[in-house]
């Protein structure tokens, strides 16, 4: 399987892991230097704003603490576009852009679009398997209702 194909599979696997709240699997696909950011263009301020920024340890803490919190009880489902992958010339990193829609389904079965945006990812590709080293979520949706305890 080509590196490009393995990266595409990984991006989908990350989405499934988050949908299914399999956080250990999600983190196992991230490098030790992993950084996760949700960035939003805020027209009210005329600039980008960061709504979440975590390193790997902070993501682990976030996932560990979830059970202590009151949060939405329905299900999130991430619908991804086909990732656009570019492998760098040195073969050690790759980048990918993937647009997403997150659908939220209430406990009564009513679904709605929760968020729209794009993942800008950087992968480490030197080892046996590619690892997600950096994800910037460029979020377009700015009214998230209650918000979410989970990353996108």
């Amino acid at each position: 399987m080509s590196l490009r194909q393995r990266i595409e599979d990984l991006i989908h696997d990350l989405a499934f892991s988050m949908d299914e709240e399999r956080f250990d699997r999600y983190l196992a696909s991230c490098s030790e230097s992993f950084e996760y950011t949700i960035s939003v263009d805020t027209p009210e301020l005329g600039r980008e704003a960061v709504w979440l920024h975590h390193d790997k340890a902070e993501m682990r803490d976030l996932f560990k603490g979830l059970r202590q919190h009151i949060r939405l009880q329905g299900q999130f489902l991430r619908q991804l576009s086909s990732p656009y992958v570019e492998v760098d010339g040195d073969g050690e990193t790759a980048t990918a852009r993937t647009t997403f829609l997150t659908i939220y389904t209430e406990l009564d079965g009513v679904s709605r679009v929760y968020a729209a945006g794009r993942y800008d990812d950087v992968f480490q590709t030197a080892g046996d398997s590619p690892l997600l080293a950096k994800r910037i979520v460029r979020l377009q949706t700015r009214d998230l209702g209650p918000g979410s305890h989970l990353p996108l």
Binding site: L52, H53, L62, R71, G147
Partner: protein, 403 residues
């Protein structure tokens, strides 16, 4: 023991100040009355001065459902106007912010200057016979005043001045807001499925902090939490004595010892609730301001801002943003829980399974006393001329109750 229908529908056996009739959160008629008597007559926080720093900068918002444009004029004065062309009503400024020496309506190209004066009417000769002059066609100005960088507007031309309305209510924020120039680094808004008062009631209600994992660990278990006294500034404005939050009690978080805002001590927490719908919360390193715009009795748009000193280095600003987002960002550990809670309350009210809310806790004005929410609803009652516990004089089914 569970209760029968009659027992459940009977008013609670409490003083009339110690409970409310939940129809005040659902009735269309009361909502229309509130819009006129409260939201149309009180000062509403509309933006921070840093959002319109340059001459001719503008920001759009709403008060009591009315579209407003807040603008810094060429003379530096901040004024507000209805964001509607007096000709045929087209919206003048369609963006949330911008800069314009004159506002030109896209529909028929009439234009207005920074004082709200009509300066251009397309093909004015067409109005010669009816005698309308440009001087008759200015924008509706909305009273606007600022204090400590906070810009307020009031639809009521006859309302008392802002400083009279606020009294000393900002004294807990004054040492901070006057020590530095602040700017807004975070803005987001959301429509919640709940009455506007439920949000501001929650900001006054400290008893609900048991719900939040973060607040249980960092606040309720911290020294002095229950010793704080409510401070009642009159006119429905409230605050509470400060205390030190133990942020380090939450797994993975650190104490807020560094880069404390001027006027605060490390970890210090303060809040100010301004009647009817603005809250300022100071948490050691950053500030949150909430304000709301009711859309209907059961829907409210809430706006949240985060403020920090303009003088921050990029590293310090990143720390403040992180601290802000930990609790208050859309992906934080606190804000979502409040919204989930009040939306649940609203569902119970609309299904008429929750008829009354109790505000009966008394802890000597300290800790988790309900004195704050009682003062809030006392002020609501003063404006509305009716008790929040007995808004209609009889218990009738809501005309817009959920099936």
């Amino acid at each position: 023991m569970s209760r029968s229908s009659a027992a459940y529908e009977a008013a609670p056996p409490l003083s009339a100040t110690h409970f409310i009739d939940n129809r005040i959160h659902a009735s269309e008629a009361l909502w229309a009355e509130e819009s006129e008597k409260i939201l149309g007559r009180t000062w509403k926080f509309v933006c921070h001065e840093s959002e319109i720093p340059e001459l001719y900068d503008f920001r759009t918002t709403k008060i009591a459902g009315k579209a407003i444009i807040v603008m810094r004029g060429g003379d530096g004065t901040v004024r507000s106007f209805f964001n509607a062309c007096p000709h045929r009503g087209s919206v003048l400024a369609r963006l949330p912010r911008g800069n314009a020496r004159q506002l030109t309506c896209m529909f028929h190209l009439w234009s207005f200057d920074d004082r709200g004066r009509c300066i251009t009417v397309t093909r004015p000769e067409g109005y010669a016979r009816c005698g309308i002059e440009k001087s008759d066609l200015g924008l509706r100005e909305v009273r606007t005043e600022a204090v400590m960088g906070l810009v307020f507007a009031n639809l009521d031309d006859g309302a008392p001045a802002l400083r009279s309305f606020l009294g000393n209510a900002l004294e807990n924020a004054q040492p901070v807001l006057e020590a530095e120039d602040f700017e807004v680094f975070h803005y987001h808004s959301a429509v919640i499925e709940a009455n506007w008062k439920l949000w501001h009631e929650t900001n006054v209600d400290l008893y609900h902090e048991w719900m939040h994992s973060v607040n249980r660990r960092t606040g309720i278990r911290a020294d002095g939490y229950f010793d704080r006294r409510f401070l009642d500034y009159g006119n429905g404005h409230l605050s509470m004595e400060p205390f030190r939050v133990k942020y380090e009690n939450y797994p993975g978080w650190t104490a807020r010892e560094d880069h404390t805002l001027p006027g605060l001590t490390p970890g210090e927490f303060r809040f100010i609730d301004l009647f009817p719908n603005t809250t300022i919360i100071l948490r050691a390193t950053n500030i949150r301001i909430d304000t709301s715009t009711p859309i209907s009795p059961t829907q409210t748009r809430i706006e949240w801002r985060g403020l920090a000193p303009k003088s921050d280095s990029p590293e310090v600003r990143a720390l403040r943003v992180q601290h802000h987002n930990q609790l208050w960002g859309p992906f934080g550990r606190n804000l979502a829980e409040d919204i989930i809670a009040v939306e649940g309350v609203q569902r119970s009210i609309m299904s008429e399974t929750s008829l009354y809310s109790l505000h009966a806790r008394e802890e000597g004005g300290k800790g988790q006393d309900d004195g704050g929410s009682r003062a809030y609803y006392a002020e609501w009652s003063r404006y509305m001329g009716r008790r929040a516990s007995d808004p209609f004089g009889s218990r009738e089914r809501l005309d817009n109750a959920a099936e």
